[in-house]
Symmetry: C2
Subunit: 299 residues, 2 copies
Amino acid sequence: MSVLIVGSTALDSIKTPNAENPRLLGGSASHAAVAASYFSPVKLVGVVGEDFPKAYLKLYRRHGIDLAGLQIKPGKTFHWSGEYELNMNNRRTLLTELGVFETFTPTLPAAHQRTPFVLLANIAPSLQQHVLDQMQRSRFVVADTMDLWLNIALDDLVKLLKRIDGFVLNDSEAQQLTKEDNVFVALKKLHKLGPKYVVIKQGSHGSILSGPKGIFICPAYPLRKVVDPTGAGDSFVGGMMGYLASAKGSVDDNLRRAMIHGSVTASFCCEGFGLKRTTRINRAQIDQRVKELEKLTKF
Amino acid sequence: MSVLIVGSTALDSIKTPNAENPRLLGGSASHAAVAASYFSPVKLVGVVGEDFPKAYLKLYRRHGIDLAGLQIKPGKTFHWSGEYELNMNNRRTLLTELGVFETFTPTLPAAHQRTPFVLLANIAPSLQQHVLDQMQRSRFVVADTMDLWLNIALDDLVKLLKRIDGFVLNDSEAQQLTKEDNVFVALKKLHKLGPKYVVIKQGSHGSILSGPKGIFICPAYPLRKVVDPTGAGDSFVGGMMGYLASAKGSVDDNLRRAMIHGSVTASFCCEGFGLKRTTRINRAQIDQRVKELEKLTKF
């Protein structure tokens, strides 16, 4: 089955203590779509400006990503610039130029409206809801978010949470939203806001799922070198949704292995700037790391 | 087989935002010994003053802990007082009265010198070495440490590391010692200092082992409420060594499950002040949580 992925499509200029990489392909939907493409057909919904490099359109297509929902508008592509400190845990935004993203309204082609798996990647919760308004019969809807929306669009986010199956957020966002330090108490509180499945991402410590089958502690794949963590969370949830759409059986039966596949896809993302590494892997390399993770956690 | 445990035996006065608990039984050796006692016979080596409550001696004995190596000296027992903030990740020391601990020299009874498993719980590295000087034929020696010794006794610690099989420390200590943020690079650097086995503790995120059989990612048991984390690290390593001493086969074959048992024992420690909870469990409760951890991590 296929996955519909809505989110930001951007140009990222990323600085680290050792390197500077201007105008890389970035954005939550780009990272999630490439990650998901290793498992299932992907339909991308987003907006770019007329300055969007043709090479990036080719890159999407090389991954079999359906671009019927990608709007190309007069104006400039969303441009984000950020700088990481040495330990990669702290980053600061240097620049945000919204461009055509400022007036983005995700309008779904008719053929997209019955996609069974829907990933509302990080984007304003009002736009995430607008996508749901157009969907006809989706089987499993997951939303990601970011701290910005907790600060400026909390009401919209709370409304969204009542309409989705799964909610993915990182530990500091979970803490901000629930006012709760303990991740297992936070998970309980998040369920009360609506979603049947909640995943809290913990960076290099992995992630925790809470769902009808209880808690799952999902490890991160061990990396000796992190080149650029930008998009790792999007790759995680993209890989997870792609795997789910590809797997036979129920979401409950597949979600743990889906998270493991997402975790491994995110590990590749961290090994290169932007999408440089994620776009150069294959399914066999992902499966190899999944096998390694099995060995690394067996007792 | 039995475990020799050397370390501090103290009275802990612990304040949290909700409660105050004066003069609890504490110290690295106390926590580790009680934890290990659920798996193997334990020989405790330490020192207390004449003010040490008889009830605490009874408590040790109730856990079958051999006290032939516990010195009772004129003077006061080591007294530590600390205060936790609301989220339990930050604590500050209010008071440290060394008492008889200031002149402690761990002298081993002859019967102790051939104990196969040796845990050098947190104590000055010079004293940890002094214990090794007296050992005859130990099978597996593990040392724990704390940031204090990195600051004031680094040379002694480096010497110690060349003489032990396993080294257990927490993530911030590993970072301080290796000047390395990445835990997997830190593990490599720590091996170069001597130990064949290195375990980095990551609090509620679990722990990571590096050894001849590669990396093991050991989860923490999920807790919705942490009452007092004091001694959790000592309980972890105590439970680990107790399990190892009890298990048939090689250390390599048993170490992963030993860490899981240590992790579970530490989870009980966090659920009560001082040793209040750890002293009231039984082996069946530990085994139950080990089974739960198996379910929580399976994919």
